[in-house]
Amino acid sequence: MLKVPEHQVAGHIAKDGKLGPLVDNQGRFYKPLQGDARGENEAKFYESFSSNKNVPDHIRGYFPVYHGVQLVEASDGSGKLPHMVLEDVVSSYVKPSVMDVKIGSRTWYPDVSEEYFNKCIKKDRATTTVSLGFRVSGLKIFDCQESRFWRPDKRVVLAYKADGARTALRKFVSSNSLADDSVPDCAYASEVYGGSDGILVKLLEVKAWFETQTLYHFNSCSVLMVYENDSGGDERRAQVKLVDFAHVLDGNGVIDHNFFGGLCSFIKFIQDIL
């Protein structure tokens, strides 16, 4: 029995009869193949990536596991549509705080249509993409004081400038009430961002791979950060996953300098908080 994911922070949402992803209760995420070649491109990437012997195992762990394509009843009632079956990255969490950060100082890439280029560059310039090399796409943070999730409006998130992005990254690891304007306490910064298995260490591992990998250009991809808030568990289990591969292209012997630069900038922001 498939349902709408609880913790989706960015991308198309399967709500009110719209087409969007679904999850089952076995840790799988069903992403409908989007129209106009993007879905095909994403599936093609996952197929290539899963069988690519040149990807080291420790890097593979930063990508959702791919389980092929299946015909599944679509969320908008349009019948059975092909869906990519992926690992549901948040399924093992009880109360996950989630943040989606789109990496790169540009979301467009060579040979796109003029229309797409104009749409992208307008958004890139209006957000922190051009200035910082990344932008926060969405976030949902568990406010342990209020004991509920806080999720800012999408328009607010897209209007963030450098300070807004910094504040969001601080709020992401704070325990105090998030809805008001109190200064984020960053109480969980060292547990979530820091430590030998924290987000910073993981991002640095990904960065090291991007310094030399010329296999793929991850245009418009996001880094998803997740961690546990459930007081029952001892660990934060902070995770980093790369997601959204609709615009990935062959590297053709050149590194993904766009993603690399943005990732380094993002890493610096996290380091500054720590």
Partner: protein
């Protein structure tokens, strides 16, 4: 003070049609005319800031030309010029390459007109695809015993393969004007490799760029210089220098991710050539 036009300039403005160009003296100094519309001002402001910035480590400072202030120079209508170290004065037969770094040469603070002009140029060249473009180069041909420089128009149209070819030609000893002969990359390991070669220097710069948030080096170039005279006996004395600071802006707490990404891409190109030339000499 005896001033003349520099011999080996590969990119940027040259003295033409009554417009002032750069000059050099016989004391190792380079005189750069202050460009109009605030660019000259920005470049001076950068050099002033950089020279007195105590947080720039010494080993990074050596990748920048030494700044000697501004001076009004005779013959240039009393217009002020930026006085810099002449980077080529210690070389007798230098090969020089100018590489503009970054996957975009525009920046948020620029005018809309400038941004559009840059976008067009960036898309037509390897800037967008590879994160850098070769603005120009001049290399000494050891067979013809003269300098060779590719046609500027041809250079503007090259793609990734053309970049690799140019980087090979830059360190070759065979006749370069002959398009049928393959570049021998004879000097690849002396220029690009070694404990003080271009690759090592670029890696040092890269480490600094991963953390420095002082400046955003929009549209800046990396100049690569090496000596051809007695290269077999004395080595190449390869040097990497950052130049052209007319569009530098404050970093404002953010790293120069644009320059860093392009630099990392350029490093990979250089490393690939070094590795393939090492492999061929092993055979």
């Amino acid at each position: 003070m005896h001033l003349k036009a520099p011999e080996h300039q590969v990119a940027g403005h040259i003295a033409k049609d009554g417009k002032p160009g750069p000059l050099v003296d016989d004391k190792g100094r380079f005189f750069k005319p202050l460009q109009g519309d605030s660019r000259g001002e920005i470049e001076v402001k950068f050099y002033e800031s950089f020279s007195s910035n105590t947080e720039v480590p010494d080993h990074i400072r050596r990748y920048f030309p030494v700044y000697h202030g501004t001076q009004a120079v005779e013959g240039s209508d009393g217009a002020a010029m930026i006085v810099l170290e002449n980077l080529l004065s210690k070389y007798s037969k230098p090969s020089v390459m100018d590489v503009k770094m970054g996957s975009r040469t525009w920046y948020p603070e620029a005018s809309e007109e400038y941004i559009q002009k840059c976008l067009r140029k960036d898309a037509r060249s390897t800037t967008v695809s590879s994160g850098f473009r070769i603005s120009g180069f001049e290399v000494y041909d050891h067979k013809e015993l003269s300098f060779w420089k590719p046609d500027r128009k041809l250079l503007n149209g090259i793609k990734v393969d053309g970049v690799r070819l140019a980087l090979r030609k830059f360190v070759s000893s065979n006749t370069l004007s002959d398009t049928s002969s393959k570049p021998d990359s004879a000097f690849a390991s002396s220029v690009y490799g070694g404990s003080r070669g271009v690759l090592t220097q670029l890696l040092e710069l890269k480490t600094w760029f991963e953390n420095q948030t002082f400046y955003h080096f929009n549209s800046c170039s990396i100049l690569i210089i090496y000596e051809n005279e007695s290269i077999h006996d004395d080595g190449a004395r390869a040097q990497v220098k950052l130049v052209d600071f007319a569009h530098v802006h404050d970093g404002n707490g953010v790293i120069d991710h644009n320059f860093l990404g392009g630099l990392c891409s350029f490093i990979n190109f250089v490393r690939d050539i070094l590795q393939s030339s090492d492999e061929s000499t092993d055979n």
